[in-house]
């Protein structure tokens, strides 16, 4: 019984958050114009990326930094390579301090400050990695995420933080 109510509570919280994420609660604030990336499909389904890109990047960060794992799929450099167009004229290059920058477009809208670009390059650059490594396996080896479970986990984590 107790278990049942806990579950209902969780589902309700989840529903609330999902509603928050999808409904235009910030009516009035102009929706961000999100620049299109290269190709047809991101490395994970769009809904997964919207909610979990930070987890992928955080995981990859530690793997690369400490264990030297340099797969391309969840690498920040490759996010930038696909999502930030390179300007012919460097003076017209869009940087992270502009709301036209892919990352900043959403982060400005949601008022979530990121400090990635205090150190990392915010524009595409050659990584010097062999070309064949750059072929990104779409929906490749990573275990499929249970979206609902993941969302519930994040709701709980968010609840604790507040």
């Amino acid at each position: 019984m107790a278990r049942f109510s806990a579950l209902t509570g969780r589902t309700a919280a989840l529903a609330a958050v999902l509603a928050l994420l999808s409904a235009p609660v910030l009516a009035g604030a102009p929706k961000p114009e999100i620049p299109r990336g290269k190709g047809d499909q991101c490395v994970e389904p769009t809904e997964v990326m919207r909610r979990h890109h930070m987890n992928f990047i955080l995981h990859q960060r530690d793997e690369t930094m400490h264990r030297g794992i340099r797969t391309k799929k969840h690498s920040l450099a490759e996010c930038i390579n696909c999502h930030v167009p390179k300007a012919e004229d460097p003076a017209r290059q869009v940087h992270a301090d502009s709301p036209k920058h892919f990352c900043s477009s959403c982060h400005t809208y949601t008022a979530v400050t990121i400090d990635c670009f205090g150190c990392h390059s915010d524009v595409p650059q050659e990584t010097g990695v062999a070309k064949e490594d750059l072929v990104v396996p779409v929906h490749g080896s990573a275990p499929a995420l249970d979206l609902e479970q993941e969302a519930a986990r994040m709701v709980q984590a968010g609840g604790k933080a507040e």
């Binding site: 930094m65 930038i80 390059s121 650059q125 490594d133």
Partner: protein, 253 residues
Amino acid sequence: MSENRTTDEGRRQFLGGTLALGGIAVAPGVFLVNVAGAKPADQPVTDKVRWGLLVDTTRCADGCDACVRACQEENGWGGPDSNEVKSSDEQKAQWIRKVHLRNKQTGSTHSLPLMCQHCEHPPCADVCPTGASFRRADGIVLVDKHTCIGCRYCMMACPYKARSFIHEELHGQKVNAPRGKGTVESCTFCVHRVDNDREPACVEACAAEGRRALIFGDMKDPDSEISQRLKRLGVRQLRADLGLNPGVHYEGV
């Protein structure tokens, strides 16, 4: 004659084998690509290799700073268009510097590059309160700037003055060398290159100058050039008395 042929054949076989593994030889014995550590991108580094560097000071020329310039270009620090615009010269980052030694008695001089020595027992990592300074399994000592709080204990602890602190907001960093305000940095052995089976930028630049004063490789592979060279007389570590077992060695000082 027959002895010569055997040597030649042996060498050809060695070169052939290396090429088959993906190495590129620009001249006999000069490799742009280091095959010893060939590692798939999804595999972690292991302690089966330990990267090391030998500086042959007899080949290092006074006045040559090709290694320093190559490092600046590769990692985006210093140089004429340094992105540290507000810092004084003492404050600016210096990952690698040319040092001149002079024996006061004999007057003999040496010129050598000095950078992070990639200690086996790095005092920088010992004193770091957050674990940001660490040594990778393959012996490369790095700063994880995500967890560095900029306390600079490591700078005080390093006996080789190998580390720098970034005092100001930076722009235009290289994709392979993220660096920014409030964190400490030092030579990474060009870890992004090493993980892709390439040699550090300084080593490549020195070879391109035709000097080959820098030899990089796996010190745990008994057949690697560096392992062979480390056995020679006159090869030493700087301040070996400190017992840190640096990965960088010097010949001829």
